[in-house]
């Protein structure tokens, strides 16, 4: 958590689309089906800030994370990193950029090669980019292990000798190896016990302060996302429904889906009525998230929305600004909020006014 500066965006994505073809058998006829994993997402992340991306299954947040670091190739749209358009760069051209953007994955048991020792796992980035002799790499790996709170003596151990939380720390150390500017963390704490989650979250926080990192933090746990993020983006079925600063999103959601999502969180009543306590009434959504192969027409949320009207099924709402960096895509914004008239139709990347 740190103040988002007013400098130009470190990472900017415009109208990102990723469709995965659904493979049918050789003898099937008919139109090809696609999974609309990400369907027109635009975002901008400033240096030093943490953008949280939150949503449920099928919303496309994981795919988005991989698109941002070009682990997937976008079907259309553009990605600009630190001023350079990296959307269509070849793998060789992409290499120097890969040093600057790294990813942390969800499953600490699957994302580390069980046959490699820690020194190789964390040291590989150096080797791949041709940096440093073996002895130097070793030294740097030891340094990184210390930074993430692990003992440098464990440099020759295998992943299975560590606990889940420690493995996740190894993943973080690996991501930090080449001093990246941006880290995309895809559900980095979901597979961990609650008390270990807190440790890793604190670690990520400290590292951000120490190294000036920028994070895109993808998660489904609203509490964790709110804690770590400066700004939060809510996704539903491949589209962005709302973007706002963390506090504003939780205090004054505009989109009905955000509202339902927030209200679905169980409340732990510890009895203290501290300042800023918000009590919500529970909105239980009907039905389930539809398949991303056949998303609903118009606003994707309309079949489950209690405020839906004709226009919601006919026309897909645009993401419009509501002031103070708060954007939402809805025909019937909550609380009677009204978009800033003059700037209607602008995209999210023009925020900062």
């Amino acid at each position: 958590m740190s103040d988002a500066s007013q400098s130009p965006a470190l990472l900017e994505a415009t109208d990102l689309v990723k469709h995965f073809p659904v493979r049918t058998g050789m003898l099937d006829r008919g139109p090809k089906e696609v999974v609309h994993a990400v369907d027109g997402v635009s975002l901008a992340v400033r240096p030093g800030e943490t953008l949280g991306v939150v949503g449920e299954s099928g919303c496309g947040k994981s795919t988005l994370g991989r698109l941002l670091v070009r682990l997937h190739d976008p079907t259309s749209g553009s990605i600009v990193f630190d001023g350079t358009d990296i959307t269509t760069l070849s793998r060789r051209q992409l290499r120097p950029f890969r040093r600057q953007m790294q990813m942390i994955f969800q499953d600490p048991y699957a994302s580390l090669n069980p046959r490699k020792r820690v020194v190789q796992l964390v040291g590989d980035p150096f080797r791949i980019h041709g940096e440093g002799s073996a002895a130097e790499v070793r030294r740097r790996v030891q340094g990184l292990l210390e930074v993430v709170g692990l003992s440098p003596d464990h440099i020759n151990r295998y992943p299975h000798e560590f606990s889940g939380g420690q493995r996740q720390r190894i993943g973080v150390a690996r991501a930090l190896a080449l001093s990246p500017k941006l880290i995309v963390a895809d559900e980095p704490v979901s597979a961990l016990d609650v008390s270990i989650q807190a440790q890793v979250v604190n670690l990520l926080d400290d590292l951000q302060d120490e190294f000036g990192l920028t994070y895109v933090f993808i998660a489904h746990d609203l509490g964790v996302v709110r804690h770590v993020s400066d700004r939060i983006m809510v996704m539903y079925l491949g589209a962005v429904v709302e973007i706002a600063s963390a506090d504003t999103l939780y205090a004054n959601p505009i989109h009905p889906y955000t509202d339902a999502l927030l209200s679905a969180m169980p409340v732990i009543d510890t009895g203290d009525d501290l300042e800023g306590t918000v009590r919500r009434s529970r909105i239980v959504l009907e039905g389930e998230v539809p398949s991303p192969i056949n998303p609903p027409t118009g606003c994707r949320f309309h079949p489950r929305c209690r405020y839906a009207t004709e226009v919601c099924s006919a026309e897909r709402p645009q993401l419009v600004p509501y002031g103070d960096g708060h954007f939402a895509a809805c025909h019937h914004p909550l609380g009677g909020a009204s978009p800033m008239g003059a700037t209607e139709g602008t995209t999210a990347s023009e925020e900062g006014a």
């Binding site: 016990d193 440790q199 979250v201 804690h227 927030l262 169980p266 239980v284």
Partner: protein
């Protein structure tokens, strides 16, 4: 519910101890769990990995088949000790009077049989029904848990259901024989948050309609808050604290509970600067000390902690905790633990 005079309590676990013989020694998974649950009550057992919460419930159901397991203690239910029952009689209890649902609905149903068939299997194991009668019951059960088009869905396979639907189907199956006790092992953990809310709502409603007791095993304090009346907190195989839910949330007595509550980022109030994380990790089950098992990670340990703290009522009737700290100093320590490090975050 069975038409018998319910003896109170409905289920009483007495000093349950579970260990596993491994090549590295004896792993003590559960060390003296004592717990009772009344008819119609909802109890939440909270703990993290290694707390022993799941394994103790598997032991209650006699579902542990590991030949290296050593299980001691008593589980009293309707005047009988379930640990001593012959397997045949235990089969009548399982699924009949005490039912259990599991965590991952994706893998918890057999992929090669239809959902209706699997529900019917449970029904016919406990009641003399024909296939057709069982199918009719299965359809109405699916309808009761809110699955649309139950007549069609009953002939579909588990992989054709979504996660939330599968969990509902599992709940339907578990409740099919009207058990007096439902044990739910992390029923909502693998589900999306909006689906979680639906399932918890469903479980609340079914509890009301069927009057069954619920033992909810979870690491999610939030789920506990939604469903349970009484909470039991476990750590490394032992109960560290138990009591009514509001009391545990508002006035927790054990440093582990403080740590647990402090680790959870809260949505309903202003953000904190830093999560009050518990340092270190849970102990290996092979290497357990006799004294307080939380001691290595506890910021308030002192010499007495080398001896095992008894689970006793120290602050109020109905509330037990296993901590040597003097009850009078606890509130201040708790406040410091939960709020001290956290100045309100600047917006």
């Amino acid at each position: 519910m069975r038409d018998e005079i319910a003896t109170s309590p409905l289920l009483e676990i007495r000093d349950l101890r579970i260990s596993f013989r491994t090549e590295h020694g004896l792993a003590r998974a559960v060390d003296g769990l004592s717990l009772s649950i009344e008819a119609g009550e909802a109890v939440g057992i909270v703990g993290e990995s290694g707390s022993g919460k799941t394994i103790s419930m598997l032991a209650v159901m006699r579902l542990i088949r590991d030949p290296n397991a050593v299980i001691e203690g008593q589980v009293l239910h309707r005047g009988r000790d379930l640990m001593q029952l012959p397997e045949r009689e235990m089969q009548a209890v399982r699924g009949g009077d005490i039912a259990m649902i599991f965590q991952d609905p994706m893998t918890a149903l057999t992929p090669v049989y239809t959902v209706g068939w699997q529900i019917a299997e449970q029904l016919r194991a406990h009641e003399p029904l024909s296939k057709r009668q069982a199918r009719v019951r299965a359809v109405s059960l699916l309808a009761e848990v809110g699955i649309p088009n139950p007549e069609r869905r009953v002939d579909e396979y588990p992989h054709q259901f979504s996660g939330g639907m599968r969990q509902r189907a599992m709940i339907a199956m578990a409740l099919s024989c009207n058990p007096s006790l439902l044990i739910a092992d992390e029923p909502t953990t693998a589900l999306d948050v909006t689906v979680q809310a639906q399932i918890l709502e469903l479980m609340r409603r079914l509890r009301r309609d069927h009057g069954s007791s619920v033992l909810l095993i979870t690491h999610d304090m939030g789920a506990v808050g939604e469903l349970a009346e009484r909470v039991v907190v476990m750590y490394a195989g032992r109960v560290v604290e138990e009591g009514p839910k509001e009391a545990i949330f508002r006035d927790p007595q054990h440093p582990y509970t403080w740590g647990l509550l402090g680790s959870i980022p809260r949505v309903d109030r202003a953000r904190v600067r830093r999560l009050a994380a518990i340092p270190g990790s849970p102990p290996s089950l092979l290497d357990l000390r006799e004294g307080c098992r939380f001691e290595p990670r506890c910021g308030y340990r002192f010499e007495r902690c080398a001896t095992r703290p008894e689970l006793l009522e120290r602050v109020a009737p109905g509330r037990r905790d296993a901590c040597h700290l003097d009850p009078s100093v606890r509130p201040a320590l708790r406040r410091a633990a939960l709020d001290g490090e956290n100045a309100q975050a600047s917006a």
